[in-house]
Symmetry: C2
Subunit: 189 residues, 2 copies
DNA sequence: ACCTGAACACCGTTCAAGT
DNA sequence: ACCTGAACACCGTTCAAGT
C-alpha cells in the first residue's frame, strides 16, 4: 500500500495519490486504507518516513566510505539533489509539506535521524579543516537549507533564467568553496 | 476577487481558497471567477503576481534607502523572512508551488523583476567589498536560495530541534559573515 | 480483525440559459 | 459581456453491514 502510493507519487504527483487509486493498485477497496492509516495524510507520511530512512542509510554509507571528508559532503549533497530530480513529488513530501510534517511521530524520528547522519559528515569536514569552525548544527542546517533552497527555486523555475538544473550543483560548489576559504580565516579572529 | 483570495489564503491556507468561497466573499456566484480567470490556478497565480510586485517594490525601496550596502542586504533578507512568517500560504504560492509557477506569463515577469531588485542589492554589496567577487547572479541566487531553504526547513519543523524561527535570521547572519570573510580573500587568489 | 458498498459533504469545471 | 443555477465527475471520510 505504501509501495502503491510511492509509485503513484512518482508517476503522477501528489494529486494522483487518491485513496481510490491506492486501493485499486493494491487490489483492495477505496477505503480499506482507513483500517491501516488514520487518513490520507498519514499514508503519505508513511511514504515520507520510508524515504527518510533511505536517506539516513545513504548518508551513513557515504560517511563511512573511503573518500576524503570534503568529497563525502559533496556526495551527500548530490544524493539530495538527485533524489529531488528523480522523485520530485516525494522530495516535496519530505521537505516542503507542512501538513505532512505536522503528522510527527515516526516521520519526525526518521527525519532527525537523516539529519544526524548529514551532521556527522559536516563535523568530519570541520575536523579536517575543510569547513569553518562555527557551531556544527547551524552549519549543517545552513548547508542543507541552501541545497534545499536551490532545489526549490530550480523546480519553480525561479532561478537564473539562462541556466537549468546544473546550476544547483555549481552553486553548491561555489558555496562550499567560499566556506573553505572562510575556514582558513575564522570569523572573529 | 484577488483580494478575497488573498484574505482566504491568509486566513485558512491554500485549501481554504475554493472558488465557492471566493465567489461568496466577492458577492458573486461560485463560478463567476471563470469569466475572469481560466482556472483556480490562474486566480492563485494572479495573487502571487501581486505579491511579487509588492516584493519588487519593497526591494527597490530598500536599495535606494540611506543604509550601508551590507545593511540593505540584511534588510532585504528580513523582508523575505517576515513575509514568510506573516503570510505563509502566500509565501508558499510564490516559491514552493510548481503548479502555480507553471502558469508563467505576468507571474514570471513579476518574479524576475523582484529578483532583479534583489540582485541589485547584492551587486552593491560586491562593489563595496562586502561580498566576494564571484558571479553576481550566482551569488544572489545562493543568498536567496539559502534564505528560502532556511524558511522552508523552519516551516516544516525540520531544522535545529531546539531553536525556532530566530534561527533563520541567525543562520543568515552567519552565512553573510562567512561570505564577508571570503570577500577579503578571493577564491583562486 | 479486516474488508466492502453505499452514502455524505465537499471540490473544480462545464454548460445551457438568462440580462 | 457578464452572471446564474444545475449538473458532472471527481474527492476524503464515515458508517452500517458483511466474513
Amino acid at each position: 500500500m505504501i509501495a502503491s502510493a510511492t509509485a503513484l507519487l512518482d508517476a503522477g504527483g501528489e494529486s494522483a495519490v487518491t485513496l481510490r487509486a491506492v486501493g485499486h493498485a493494491s487490489g483492495i477497496s477505496h477505503n480499506a486504507p482507513y483500517k491501516h492509516f488514520k487518513s490520507r495524510d498519514a499514508l503519505l507520511a508513511a511514504v515520507a518516513t520510508t524515504d527518510f530512512v533511505w536517506l539516513a542509510d545513504t548518508f551513513r554509507a557515504v560517511r563511512h566510505g573511503a573518500s576524503a571528508p570534503a568529497s563525502k559532503l559533496t556526495q551527500a549533497l548530490k544524493v539530495i539533489v538527485h533524489f529531488s530530480v528523480e522523485h520530485p513529488a516525494r522530495y516535496r513530501l519530505l521537505f516542503n509539506d507542512p501538513e505532512i510534517a505536522a503528522v510527527g511521530g515516526d516521520l519526525e524520528v526518521s527525519a532527525r535521524s537523516a539529519f544526524a547522519e548529514f551532521l556527522g559528515i559536516v563535523q568530519d569536514c570541520q575536523a579536517a579543516q575543510k569547513l569553518p569552525a562555527v557551531p556544527d548544527i547551524a552549519l549543517a542546517g545552513l548547508l542543507f537549507a541552501t541545497t534545499h533552497g536551490l532545489i526549490g527555486l530550480a523546480a519553480s523555475g525561479r532561478m537564473h533564467p539562462e541556466k537549468g538544473l546544473s546550476s544547483v550543483e555549481s552553486s553548491l560548489k561555489m558555496l562550499v568553496s567560499l566556506l573553505q576559504v572562510s575556514g582558513t580565516k575564522l570569523p572573529g579572529s
